[in-house]
Amino acid sequence: MEVRIEDLVKRFDDVVAVNKVNATFESGKLIALLGPSGCGKSTMLNMLSGIMPVTEGKIYFDDRDVTMLSPDKREVGLVFQNYALYPHMSVLENICFPLKIKRVPKAERIEKAKEYARMVHIDDYLDRLPKELSGGQQQRVAIARALVKRPKLLLLDEPLSNLDAKLRVEMREEIRRIQRESGVTTVFVTHDQEEATSISDYIMLMKLGVKQQFAKTRNLYNDPANLFVADFIGNPTINQLHGIYEKGNFRPDAYENAIPIGRYQIEDGSRVVFASRPESVIVEKKNGKTVMEVEETYVSGKDTLCVLKAGDGRLRAYVDNDSAPQEKDLVSVSFRDRGVFVFNEESGERYYE
């Protein structure tokens, strides 16, 4: 099912939790809703599920306007951050509950519930109570309960935040698999950019209730719409040098040399942020081009991370271990075409060539 939101707004007294968001979630895709804490992700999800009324705007499921529809009629599944399993019911009863409400005959609903329990690998624990399960197991029960009624839309609110690092990676692959198998349109909330990029088809990045960018996961990294996006996505974070743009050159603050970066549609003398991914920085033996001093080096696996000094700013670059420079060496620096962006210093808006 396709989900479309139009000018969605949610206000709490004086806080605007979600501000005029437009988006279309393609059918059968996994969309990650990403952003720092308090940016309105949960609010968005709660409005999609219907447990929170919208202030303004519309929500469509396919062509149906569901803005005013109550949650029990929306055919959505929601997995809460704390799982919200019914504590007095066994695993099997928990999974059966949505079907019981729908008055599915007992034998049939037990069979269905068992089928979904198998799918999330929880079928050995059917008689246990939620409190007798680990966090990861509880989560799988919550997913099975959300899926068993065959929802048109599956919503997951930071479902992995309570798990340890290893289980998190396992479970996100599991969620991906379950989503593929069931083909249900899924919205997955997280504030962890790595989790979002590893699991999703699309990412919607938000900040203070405002949509920053909504794009294919890969494009968010390769083609950020503004400085916030470029900064939020990627680990290690993108290099940022502040300075002045002048005739195809960038002059970092307190640095004697100019860096040639090509023609952008920027007025000469504007203050800009020059951003580059660490893997887009080319470090060579000193050869007359832009020269910088190596401040520190860290070996990590087959690469060495070099920290270079450019006036007040610092650049991080990945270099092959064999050709890695020493600390205090002077090296020449240039940039690839990919992974290099220029932004307006004040607004964070991106400039294009």
């Binding site: 599920s49 949650p71 029990d72």
Partner: protein
């Protein structure tokens, strides 16, 4: 390894408990013990235990007093009272904990503060109300004033408040209505508290005396056991053995009920469902 002072300490603890239990238990034992004795045996103080287990006292008491009717009335009043009280308590507790309406907490505070009013004062107004409802002397007069309880509502509301809202939202998304959520999720979760409340209420109803006396002054057919017993003591003359048999008849159903629900009561009380 337990050392000596520990052992002395635990001995003292058990001794205290034993004395307490004995003090509680003795009157019951005396009552039941005496109900098996003949009148002569009882008055002569010759032996502590009865010579034979005499069922005859029970038969006599049962037939002499109007006990079958009292018993039927008691069962009817108790069952209906408890059922209605539970229903009203559950709905009220849900309303005061989970539904949002203006003045909710204020109204509840007022209700709770009304628990301070002594029961004897309410008897007058209740009496007037019953009279105006033309229920005076009818068995429903024993039920109508006791179909709700602020105290039980307070207990249950506290439990309901501790249930996270995400369960409600979850149930709504699973397709449940408010009504289904209450009966399918909240009530089963509150079961230990509910059993405790039901039992307390059953005991209160069963033992209710003053009000029954007042209401049944116009009609002896609606007497329940406790008042019936008092009436019996005056109507049957001074036969201690029969009185004791009658008293035993009155308490046995509650003791049986308690034994059945013992486990739920202990969980209900121990998890704080009855604190406050």
């Amino acid at each position: 390894m337990k050392n000596k002072t520990d052992r002395v300490k635990s001995f003292m603890q058990y001794l205290t408990l034993f004395i307490g239990a004995a003090i509680m238990f003795l009157p019951f034992f005396w009552m039941i013990n005496s109900s098996f004795k003949t009148e002569k045996e009882l008055l002569s103080f010759q032996s502590f235990l009865p010579k034979q287990l005499l069922i005859d006292n029970f038969r006599q008491a049962w037939e002499m007093g109007d006990f079958p009717r009292y018993f039927g009335n008691s069962v009817f009043v108790t069952v209906v009272c408890v059922a209605l009280t539970m229903f009203v308590t559950i709905l009220a507790a849900y309303g005061f904990s989970k539904l949002k309406f203006p003045g909710r907490d204020l109204i509840f505070t007022v209700l709770v503060s009304m628990m301070m009013i002594p029961y004897e004062m309410l008897m007058l107004t209740n009496y007037e109300t019953i009279r105006h409802m033309h229920l005076f002397g009818k068995i429903w007069s024993l039920i109508v004033p006791f179909t709700s309880s602020i105290f039980y509502t307070y207990i249950l509301r506290n439990f309901f408040l501790s249930v996270p809202d995400s369960l409600y939202q979850s149930a709504r998304i699973d397709g449940a209505s408010d009504w289904q959520y209450l009966w399918e999720i909240m009530v089963p979760m509150a079961k230990p508290s509910l059993v405790t409340i039901a039992l307390l209420d059953a005991i209160t109803c069963w033992n209710s005396f003053m009000w029954t006396m007042l209401m049944s002054s116009g009609n002896r057919n609606i007497r329940t056991l406790p008042f019936g017993l008092t009436a019996f003591t005056s109507e049957a003359g001074v036969h201690y053995n029969l009185w004791m048999a009658g008293a035993t008849i009155v308490v046995i159903p509650m003791i049986v009920l308690f034994l059945f629900c013992r486990k739920s009561i202990i969980t209900g009380v121990s998890r704080g469902g009855l604190k406050g």
